[in-house]
Amino acid sequence: MEIHPELASGEVKHLQRCINDLISLLALPAIWSAGDPSQLLHTLLDALLRMLRLDLVAVRLLDPVVEAPLEIVRIAERQTQRQRQTQSTIPSAHEICEALSNSFGDNSRKWPPLLRNLMGAEDVSIVPLPLGLQGELGVIVVAAQRTVFPQQTESLLLSVAANLASIGLQDARLLSQQKQVANELDLRVTQRTAELAAANEELKKQLAERRLVEEKLGQEELERKRSEVRKAAIVDSALDCIVTIDHEGCITEFNPPAEHTFGYRRDQVLGKHLADIIIPPSLREKHRQGFARYLATGEARVLGRRIEMTAVRADESEFPVELAIARIPLEGAPSFTGSLRDITERKRAEQELRRSEAFLAESQHLSRIGSFSWRVATDEITWSEQLYRIFQIDRVVPVTFALIGTRIHPEDLSLFQDHIERSRQDRSDVQIEFRLQMPDGAVKYVHVSAHIRGDHGNPEYIGAVQDVTERRSSEAALSKARSDLAHVAKVTSLGVLTASIAHEVNQPLSGIITNAGTCLRMLAADPPNVDGARETARRTIRDGNRASEVISRLRALYGRKAPAIESVDLNEATREVLALSLSEHQRNRIIVQQELADNLPLVAGDRVQLQQVILNLLRNASEAMSAVEDRSRHLLIKTEADKDGHVRLTVKDAGVGFTPQAADRFFEAFYTTKNDGMGIGLSVSRSIIESHHGRIWATPNDGPGATFSFFVPCVSRNGTSANTALETRTSDVSDAA
């Protein structure tokens, strides 16, 4: 089967256009979704006119509610122009539909699918498209001046368009019906709202009236209540019980607080013996005796004084009271008035206070913290019990600075006095640590912190003194342990070097012995070779000096002498260490490459300690390469100054390297990756470098091996802060040593 290519391509284009049209049509409902029927129809008619190159398209839309149908007509541009030229009129949609109805009946369903030459002489093809299943929505009429209209594809598009329009219109109709219902509902709601609002207004009015009445009532009520409250307040506020007795001890007055306190009504107690009513049975006899004695002798133990005693209530419960009794100054037989107050609460509070004081004293005792106050103006000093204990001073002695001075360690006395004077002047907070010396010679460390309070007229320091002797001694122990550890590490690292150092000493020693022997031989010869012997002796001396240098270097590294701060040339220090480890490196076939920077600034530090670190790094590097056979055992040692005022030393090896996880742990004490290592070298190195205010770290190489580096600050021009700090630490170490 053969297809002509041109035909085929025309066909393809046609189909493509068709599909495009179809897609355009199918897209229309998206535009319609919110529109009304007339807008819907306008867009549809325009689309059809354009797509199918129609000459005319008209629609009649039947509306069940509105009598007159909606009729729209669209005519192609070219038709409009022709009509204008021929001055013929454009038929309206109504005319077209009427004509069709007249010819074929009102039901557009029954109209023939294709009409020709219906109107005028032109060759026009007309296609009616009923809307709705029964044509009940209306009809679209399309017309084209073409004999072959509609083609198959055009029919398809037309029927799709008609279906889409039907669905769209039905939707629109449904929507408008819903809208109508909604509108009605709105209307009804509005009406109901208005009714409700009216009813509400009425209610409000009634409510306002009622409230007015209530307010009036309320004010009266409130007034009454207030007066009651006031009365109650007066009643309540009269806390003191007032009881009056006559010369026989019989009650003549018993006020409401007394009624309340003791649980008797006034009328129950009037005329009764006071003792029987409020004095506990155990004290009654004593009371009677005292009362009788007073009457007989005028000797009073209780009159005119505030006394505390125990009273009893009607329910026989006892409670503490504070009591003041006065004789009523009237003629005749004496009578007395007593004012009593229930002090149960006060007693409890007192007890509470005593307990908390006890707690405080106990906790001060346990924590070895004493507290004090010092009035600056008068030098009045108050100490807590614990503070007396710390100072080992008897509590009865009044505290003075002179007394305190006798307990302060002689070496710290001036420090203490300076602080007191300074506090007196600038009244700043105090933080000071000093030593006490007890009469038996024992030394205590105390830490004092105090701050000032009170007004400027009468300032007072309040503070705490803590006995930190134990802490200090454990710190000292720790520091000693640390220095012991450092020593162990040093000895260990040197132990490894012993052979190498023996070699270093043996070289000149060997020279000395040989020279001495040669010298003797030369002198013993006949004739004696005096010149040769002299020369040989000179060499002997030189070698002797060399040997002693090696030994003193060895002693410096090995010994435990306190670190000394000096300006150190790190290059020089490095060269010395390299010289010491030379033979070890040779033995291990390690190729050492030096890159020591020229004009390297001096660093402040302890030469021997820094050399220990370098030695350690070299040793580690050498050991890391001990198993390396497949590449050269290359070790690079490098010094350089960085721009931050540090000197950096780097040791790079081509050894086994390490994992990044290990890098964090390298510098911890007792961490080791070596089978025979103790894991102290690097931790000691770190503590040395840190005491020099430097930093030490390790990084894996890109290739095999690892790089260890440290930096320490250079000597600054104006006296180094690093120096002083290191010195402090240094003295700690030497104390401990």
């Binding site: 052979a499 190498s500 023996a502 070699h503 270093e504 043996n506 070289q507 000149p508 020693l509 060997s510 020279g511 000395i512 012995i513 040989t514 020279n515 022997g517 040669t518 031989r521 030369m522 010869a525 070779n529 040769g532 020369e535 040989t536 060499r539 030189r542 070698d543 060399r546 033979s583 040779q586 033995r587 076939r589």
Partner: protein
């Protein structure tokens, strides 16, 4: 040969050791030649007079044992005396196995070293004279004609002239003439001498071919 002072080579990287040994050796009437590294020593040509090497084990670059490995094979006339600052047993064993004559730990007594050097030089002298004899022997042997060599080989294997003649397809008279030439060229006084010479020549046929 004996009026030339024997040479004592010293290879040690330490200047004290080098210089002291130099003057000690000179004082004993030998010629000292000192080197600071194995490489500088190797660069120096070998000598044909009695000599020995005093070698430090720890050296930069090539160490003493490496150097021993390199020269022991070809310089049989140069005994090696090792000196070391830290001799350990495995290293000593290794050095001795490789042919070192002595292993001294620094510092050493000068007469101990001198005795070692003296012994080493004696050894060197023996080795050298042995070598000289062999060289002469090889020269004599090289002067033999093909036929004479065949005759010599059969003579030392114990055949009679007649049997040799039968073996080589020549007359007994001719064998006798060849045999006289051989004795003369090899400077052999007796058949026994010739047999000994042949034995000494046998272990190194390659050397014979080369000579």
């Amino acid at each position: 040969m004996s009026d030339v002072a024997p040479i004592v080579f010293v290879v040690d990287d330490d200047v004290s050791v080098r210089e002291s040994l130099e003057s000690l050796i000179r004082c004993e009437g030998w010629q000292p030649m000192t080197f600071a590294s194995a490489q500088t020593f190797l660069d120096h040509p070998r000598v044909r007079i009695p000599n020995c090497l005093v070698l430090d084990i720890s050296l930069p670059g090539l160490n003493g044992l490496d150097l021993q490995r390199l020269v022991a094979e070809e310089r049989t006339d140069m005994p090696i005396i090792f000196i070391t600052g830290h001799g350990d047993v495995p290293m000593t064993v290794q050095a001795m196995k490789a042919g070192a004559v002595e292993f001294l730990t620094k510092p050493f007594k000068d007469d101990v070293l001198l005795a070692a050097i003296r012994a080493a030089l004696e050894r060197s002298r023996v080795a050298l004279s042995l070598e000289a004899e062999m060289r002469i022997l090889r020269e004599h042997y090289a002067s033999l004609s093909q036929r004479e060599r065949q005759v010599m080989a059969l003579v030392v294997s114990g055949l009679l002239n007649k049997q040799i003649g039968g073996e080589l397809g020549i007359s007994e008279i001719t064998v006798k003439a060849h045999r006289g030439k051989v004795m003369q060229k090899m400077k052999a006084g007796s058949l026994a001498d010739l047999v000994i010479m042949a034995t000494r020549l046998r272990p190194a046929p390659a050397a014979i071919a080369a000579a």
